[in-house]
């Protein structure tokens, strides 16, 4: 992670004695997280504090095994000499390379797994009050070249497929639905909307809103930085660029105007750590959703895949960051289908969450798939449905919209 790493927030000072007592690899990993505490979402901060509490002696036998797993790693002397307390991110970057080159990456993976397993997965105090709902929309412009495709094959086994789902207002309705949920449950960072296009209308104050074109200036700023780096003799190649990215701040890519430091840092992370998020809107949506689910654990998340640009050479994209190639609608449909599947997997990863609802819908083809606790799996409902009715069964807030019904294509 990248932002504010050189600053020593109070949690870092507070936890320093504990971290110093840990094996150096684990200490650096934890410090990397602790150093970011001020820009963490509440849920990820809670998880960090839980981990630190479990690492504090006396530890459980399971946690002790995890710690010993890290202690067994042979960290090279030149890495040990680095200062993990002041530059944990830089330390971890070099440690990772060393673990691969010394053949210890698998032992590291094993230790990391033990660390996760040593903590209870169900945390009643963190249980959501409102059912978590993730809605993925595939923009109507995403279309295959031939006949109407059969969508969501990877997800069919997990829920019920609806081949005919129409909506009067589509995205407008869904955004209102998310806003209504945010009004009813106004917790910070609990409700999100993420788009591969741009949001034309104002976002509800309690809804976190990120879009590919909303971050266009930052994306272009970053591509310009890449271009400058590749033309600089002192860059140090891919690894040098990666190291320099570790220390980029939001203001370095023009994100200073974002008031909220947590969201400012999150958006910066998405663009810097997400490979391809600067170039392709489908990648941007998939990665941003993944990170939002992992870090913020929102109760409502609306994601919309829009057409990404056609493939163009890296050289062209870096040399001309302000030029967006024309859209690739059919390729975007393939991307979005995979992105929907990965989103479902990422939703399932949220610990202790067995009650979430997942809906994916193509607004042009009218095909939808619903996954949830009471939804039949591997099933199909061929009756004509309204999107609004599908969602009303989940949560029926006060939404007033008047839209004409759209015919299915």
């Amino acid at each position: 992670m990248i932002a504010f790493v050189q600053k020593q927030p109070s949690l870092a000072l507070q936890e320093l004695p504990l971290l110093r007592s840990l094996p150096i690899a684990l200490a650096a990993l934890m410090m990397q997280q602790v150093a970011r505490a001020e820009v963490m979402f509440p849920s990820e901060k809670r998880e960090l504090e839980t981990t630190l509490a479990f690492l504090t002696p006396p530890r459980s036998a399971a946690m002790e095994r995890a710690v010993q797993g890290f202690a067994a790693l042979k960290v090279p002397a030149q890495i040990r000499q680095l200062n993990w307390e002041s530059d944990a991110a830089g330390f971890v970057e070099k440690l990772t390379a060393a673990l691969w080159s010394t053949g210890q990456i698998d032992a590291f993976r094993e230790a990391a797994k033990l660390l996760i397993l040593a903590q209870p997965s169900d945390k009643p105090e963190n249980a959501t009050k409102t059912q978590r709902v993730v809605i993925v929309v595939l923009d109507k412009r995403l279309e295959s070249a031939g006949t109407a495709p059969v969508l969501f094959r990877r997800l069919r086994a997990h829920g019920t497929f609806f081949p005919m789902v129409h909506s009067g207002c589509g995205m407008e309705y869904l955004r209102s639905w998310v806003a209504a949920r945010a009004s009813a449950d106004p917790e910070p960072y609990a409700h999100w909307e993420i788009s591969g296009d741009a949001f034309q209308e104002t976002t509800h104050a309690q809804v976190v809103s990120l879009s590919f074109y909303g971050l266009q200036a930052a994306r272009r700023h970053l591509l310009t930085l890449f271009n400058t780096a590749r033309n600089s003799a002192i860059t140090g190649g891919p690894e040098g660029l990666r190291r320099s990215m570790l220390y980029l701040k939001p203001e370095d890519i023009g994100l200073a105007a974002q008031d909220d430091p947590v969201l400012r840092s999150f958006a910066t992370d998405v663009l810097i750590n997400g490979s391809g998020t600067q170039l392709y809107s489908t990648t941007f949506v998939q990665w941003t959703v993944r990170e939002a689910l992992r870090r913020a654990q929102p109760r409502t998340l609306l994601a919309c895949f829009a057409p990404r640009s056609q493939f163009a050479s890296m050289d062209a994209r870096l040399s001309h960051p302000d030029v967006e190639p024309p859209p690739d609608n059919s390729g975007s449909l393939v991307d979005a289908e995979m992105g929907s599947y990965l989103t479902y997997i990422n939703l399932r990863r949220i610990s202790g969450d067995t009650d979430a609802l997942f809906l994916v819908w193509h607004e042009g083809y009218g095909q939808a798939l619903l996954i949830g606790r009471d939804v039949p799996v591997g099933s199909q409902d061929t009756s004509r449905k309204r999107l609004e009715d599908l969602l009303a069964d989940v949560w029926n807030g006060s939404i007033e919209l008047s839209c004409e019904e759209e015919a299915l294509t």
């Binding site: 080159s101 591509l223 490979s275 391809g276 489908t282 998939q286 990965l342």
Partner: protein
């Protein structure tokens, strides 16, 4: 369960999936399982001077889901319908090394899990199969060629090992033929053929003079740069450019050892799944075209083995440390497990090989096919190749 045991279990599961899939696809004839008691005849070993080997590696791992698993079959029609019936399919090739494309390809070539920095401009420290072959068989530099992407692969043909100095392969980086020294396109409209690096926006600095010069290559291949550029306009990807050069090398020199590294698949790092699948489909077609080129060339027909092997897999969808197909960073079992297709003399056709082999088994196997040893390689010759 130890990590190694877990790997073995998951790798074996993937092997089973691939085997069952092929059984369903092609019927019982293909599903012959080779065991240690069903050795191919070793007649091929009687005439080593006439042997040739073509190796195709995918520098950009391909997963089961997008290739040999049921849902991936639509992406590899040529391998399934044309190549597999003529060859052997190895269901379980495990890579226990670093999952970076240059260092992994170097490991394939040396038979040793190399540990150098994937992004560094360095030669493999251990001798390559090209050097083993040329030195042992006293072959000229024109008898071993490498066609590779230009992202660091300029050093792949020649190790830094003192005992093998000057015994390396001729290395062609086709994109260099279309680019200026700074990497920019030398011909308008061909920028799309210069893509070769998807893991980072910038490339490692490359030392000059470590490969044969562009003009020299063009001259050796009797290639007019103008004609080359004109032909290149008909191609849609860098790997198609590599195929064009490979054919040219075959025509001009008929080398005994030709190594082609494809790289289009690695566009997966951009996160665009459709581009990744397009890369697999192109690679599939290119492999078939290469095999057809082999079969239609009297210098190669009936005396050439073709070995097709991705350098490794890609991350699984379910590993929380990764992001599915996009990268190969987790080191999980699926990112370490891939497959191999082998065709040609001495290889039993319509065969599925279940037993696990390692990616470092490739170099000693290629050496053995060409009638020499790879003494410093740590892998073992693959007996199902007729060795």
């Amino acid at each position: 369960m130890s990590q190694t045991t877990q790997w073995s279990r998951i790798s074996a599961e993937r092997s089973y999936d691939r085997r069952e899939f092929l059984r369903g696809l092609s019927g019982a004839a293909l599903a012959t399982t080779v065991s240690s008691v069903m050795m191919p005849q070793k007649l091929w070993a009687l005439n080593p001077d006439r042997r040739k080997t073509v190796v195709v590696t995918f520098g950009g791992g391909a997963r089961d889901q997008e290739t040999f698993a049921l849902e991936g079959q639509e992406n590899i029609p040529f391998m399934l319908k044309e190549l597999l019936p003529q060859g052997a399919f190895f269901t379980q090739v495990v890579n226990r090394g670093i999952l970076g494309h240059y260092v992994a390809t170097a490991s394939l070539a040396t038979g040793v899990y190399e540990r150098f920095n994937n992004f560094a401009d360095v030669a493999p420290p251990n001798p390559t199969v090209f050097e083993y072959f040329r030195k042992a068989r006293r072959r000229p530099t024109t008898d071993a060629w490498v066609i590779a992407p230009s992202n660091g692969f300029n050093r792949i043909g020649q190790s830094s090992h003192a005992l093998y100095s000057g015994q390396g392969a001729s290395v062609v980086l086709p994109k260099r033929l279309l680019a200026h020294a700074d990497g920019s396109a030398a011909f308008t409209g061909l920028e799309h053929l210069l893509n070769d690096n998807y893991e980072s926006p910038i490339q490692a600095p490359v030392a000059l003079g470590t490969e044969i010069g562009t003009q020299q290559i063009a001259s050796m291949l009797k290639l007019s740069m103008t004609d080359f550029a004109a032909h290149a306009t008909t191609l849609s990807s860098p790997d198609e450019l590599s195929l064009f050069i490979a054919r040219r090398v075959m025509r001009q020199f008929s080398p005994s050892l030709l190594w082609v590294t494809l790289h289009d698949i690695d566009v997966a790092h951009t996160g665009a799944f459709s581009l990744y699948v397009d890369g697999i489909r192109r690679s599939d077609k290119i492999c078939a075209e290469l095999w057809n080129a082999i079969q239609s060339d009297p210098e190669y027909k009936d005396r050439t083995n073709l070995l097709i092997i991705p350098d490794f897999g890609r991350d699984s969808d379910t590993d929380a440390g990764g992001n599915g197909f996009q990268h190969h960073r987790t080191g999980d079992a699926l990112s370490r497990t891939t497959w191999m297709v082998a065709l040609g003399p001495g290889i039993r056709q319509n065969t599925v090989v279940d037993r696990p082999i390692e990616s470092i088994d490739l170099a000693p196997s290629v050496a053995a096919l060409l009638g020499c040893d790879a003494p410093m390689a740590l892998g073992r010759p693959i007996r199902e190749l007729g060795l």
